[in-house]
């Protein structure tokens, strides 16, 4: 939260307290502003929040612990499919979200540890390729496990996932406040997701300033030296993998129930790369970076989608670059140019791993 406030241009450095309120105000008002441009944009914001969750989770693994995971989307898939199996007509099981969410988190964490164990000894680029392979294996299974027993329903995916019910509210329905005032379902999802994001930020920033966060940073900066001060790097890596995976799993559940259907197409390698680009673009190893990266790189393609088509039509009479191509172009260029020109990301990490306030009495200031 503090990092995010500091990242606010101009105001952040001068008056962090005010900047903090600005951030909160924007977060709350965003969907209302978006609604002025149409419901699509609220939907875009909902997805942006899901990407923030994913980016926060991946940042934990890549940015904090220094483990380049290219199969991260597999955990997202585990979460989404858990929701599809346990809360949809597919198997005719309809468990409430309070059961599905922890189960999905548990499955994803288990998957994280399952991936983590064999790859513990691998470093850097090898780790990246093996995790990529893991992601592909998961996708291949999702695609093909409709035969001989239909488990995943193959490439068609699973439809009609149960919507999220919170305290008897169905988030997928508009709430009729009075005759001419209704709260759109997209708003309900937005605030539910926002609550999840806020909780995650709190959790991750607490982790960051703790013995665990420092151990991860130590391992990332110098694994040998980390071992030499007694850090059990194996456990720390597994913890990073499983916590990161948990974030993926939870976002997967939210994604599946929000969208109402899941299919392997949503979990391609391109999505893993997209989330990675968000983290890299924003700045590895800092919470604000992951958030800003996720917002920009999930919203920008949508904005382009709405601008590019009419603009191209006006200029050339037909569409040269369709929105999907534009998105890939944007992501790949963002990744390359960021690494070349500003490797620390949009918001370079000056992540804090300690609280100086404990030393105020000794006159230590930042």
């Amino acid at each position: 939260m503090n990092e995010l406030a500091l990242a606010v241009p101009w105001l952040g450095k001068r008056n962090p307290q005010a900047a903090r309120w600005v951030v909160i105000a924007i977060a709350i008002a965003a969907p209302m502003i978006a609604m002025m441009f149409g419901r699509t944009w609220v939907r875009v914001l909902d997805f942006a929040l899901l990407y923030i969750l994913l980016a926060l989770g991946l940042n934990l693994v890549v940015g904090f612990a220094g483990l380049l995971d290219l199969g991260y989307i597999a955990f997202y898939a585990v979460g989404a499919y858990t929701a599809a199996f346990l809360a949809s007509p597919h198997f005719d099981v309809h468990l409430p979200i309070w059961v599905v969410l922890p189960l999905a988190a548990g499955f994803a964490a288990t998957a994280g540890i399952t991936l983590g164990f064999p790859v513990l000894r691998l470093r850097g680029d090898y780790l990246a390729i093996v995790t990529l392979g893991f992601g592909e294996i998961v996708r291949i299974f999702m695609n093909n496990l409709n035969y001989p027993i239909n488990i995943t329903n193959g490439p068609q995916g699973i439809n009609s996932l149960d919507p999220i019910m919170l305290f008897g509210w169905d988030l997928s329905r508009n709430i009729q406040v009075s005759e001419d005032l209704a709260i759109n379902s997209l708003f309900l999802y937005y605030y539910a997701f926002l609550a999840c994001v806020a909780g995650s930020i709190l959790f991750i920033s607490r982790l960051q300033v703790s013995r665990v966060g420092r151990a991860w940073a130590a391992m990332r900066d110098d694994e040998l030296a980390a071992k030499a001060i007694g850090i059990n790097t194996r456990n720390m890596k597994l913890l990073a993998f499983s916590l990161g995976a948990t974030f993926g799993g939870v976002s997967g559940v939210l994604f599946g129930t929000f969208q109402g259907f899941v299919s392997p197409e949503s979990f391609s390698l391109m999505e893993s790369i997209a989330v990675l680009t968000m983290v890299v673009f924003g700045g590895m190893g800092n919470i604000a970076g992951a958030i800003v990266g996720a917002i920009i790189l999930s919203a920008l393609p949508e904005i382009l989608r709405h601008l590019a088509v009419p603009v191209q039509q006006a200029l050339f009479g037909h569409v040269l670059l369709d929105p999907e191509v534009l998105r890939m172009l944007l992501l790949s260029l963002a990744m390359i140019l960021m690494m070349l020109l500003r490797p620390a990301g949009l918001i370079p990490a000056n992540a804090k791993y300690s609280h100086i306030r404990y030393l105020k009495a000794k006159g230590v200031t930042e």
Partner: protein, 310 residues
């Protein structure tokens, strides 16, 4: 027995393509310690450039002989890929040579996706029919075992190119400079080797092999599209690791072994899992092998030196 022999033939054909591509990975890794993620996409660029050339030639000289047409299209595809690899190295990788270890890898992933996107823009998203200029009518050297002339060509051409590369690396001055650079950049530079040039050349030579591999791959299957290079690229990388990364002979051995494993795996997986899994799971073998090799024998089959870099 026929099925068994047939799997060997299939495995050898795919394996020799993997081997050609694997050489590019292994040379670059040997010299820079970088997994050039975008190398697989050069296979795609090679195939699609050749396709474009063929289309053009068919338009201007409809009567041209298939062999001449194939040769000409290769003569266009190879330099295009080489130029592309040169540009890639110069613009994206060289500035990052001393950057933290994750930076070049992330860039390489970006380059790979950029190439795919650009190919999508130039050639569209559709699968293109690739002219099969060399006959695909199978012959039967042994009763019940089929092999097509294009497959025979693939095996022969791959073998020749690999032999050429080995000669280049072991017998020429350039090869010696390459090996010296792989051993130690700084020392090689002190000995008067222009390491920047050698590194660029390594990329370029690998790209030439990839272009040939791309044309052969597309000729064999009769299709080409923007994403065709990615999976073979990953598999070729697996082959390089399997053989022992940085080792040319290893890359070839790894390619052939991987081809055989895939071919047999796809052929027998259904029986082995009692019908639960089938040949649509073929792609998982490469990843499983990659994982197993890295975990249990990271030096690969022929690797001597321990790759603790990375």
């Amino acid at each position: 027995m026929e099925i068994f022999l047939q799997q060997i033939v299939n495995g050898l054909v795919v394996g020799s393509v993997y081997a050609l591509v694997a050489l590019g990975y292994t040379m670059v890794y040997g010299i820079l310690g970088l997994i050039n993620f975008a190398h697989g996409d050069l296979v795609m660029v090679g195939a699609l450039t050749a396709l474009q050339t063929m289309m053009f030639l068919m338009g201007v000289a409809p009567g041209m002989s298939p062999v001449a047409m194939l040769t000409l299209s290769l003569l266009v595809a190879i330099p295009v890929c080489m130029l592309l690899a040169f540009t890639m190295e110069r613009l994206a990788y060289r500035p990052l040579r001393n950057a933290p270890r994750l930076a070049p890898l992330i860039t390489a992933i970006g380059v790979s996706f950029l190439l795919q996107t650009l190919a999508m823009i130039v050639w569209g998203r559709n699968y293109h029919t690739f002219p099969q200029l060399i006959s695909t009518t199978p012959v039967q050297p042994i009763e019940g075992v089929f092999i097509t002339p294009i497959q025979i060509t693939i095996i022969i051409v791959s073998a020749l190119m690999m032999a050429g590369l080995i000669l280049l690396v072991t017998k020429t001055k350039l090869g010696r400079a390459m090996r010296a650079t792989a051993e130690n950049h700084r020392v090689a530079a002190l000995m008067g080797v222009d390491t920047n040039m050698i590194i660029a050349l390594t990329f370029v030579i690998g790209a030439a092999l990839a272009a040939v591999a791309g044309v052969m791959f597309a000729s064999n299957y009769g299709i080409a599209h923007y994403g065709m290079g990615f999976m073979p690229g990953l598999k070729a990388f697996t082959a390089a690791v399997l053989g022992g990364i940085g080792n040319l002979g290893g890359a070839m051995l790894g390619g052939v072994v991987l081809g055989l494993v895939e071919s047999f795996g796809a052929g027998y997986i259904e029986q082995a899992t009692f019908g639960f899994l089938n040949s649509s799971y073929q792609d998982i073998f490469a990843f499983i092998i990659l994982g197993l090799v890295l975990i249990f024998k990271p030096t690969g089959l022929l690797g001597e030196r321990v790759s603790d870099r990375a």
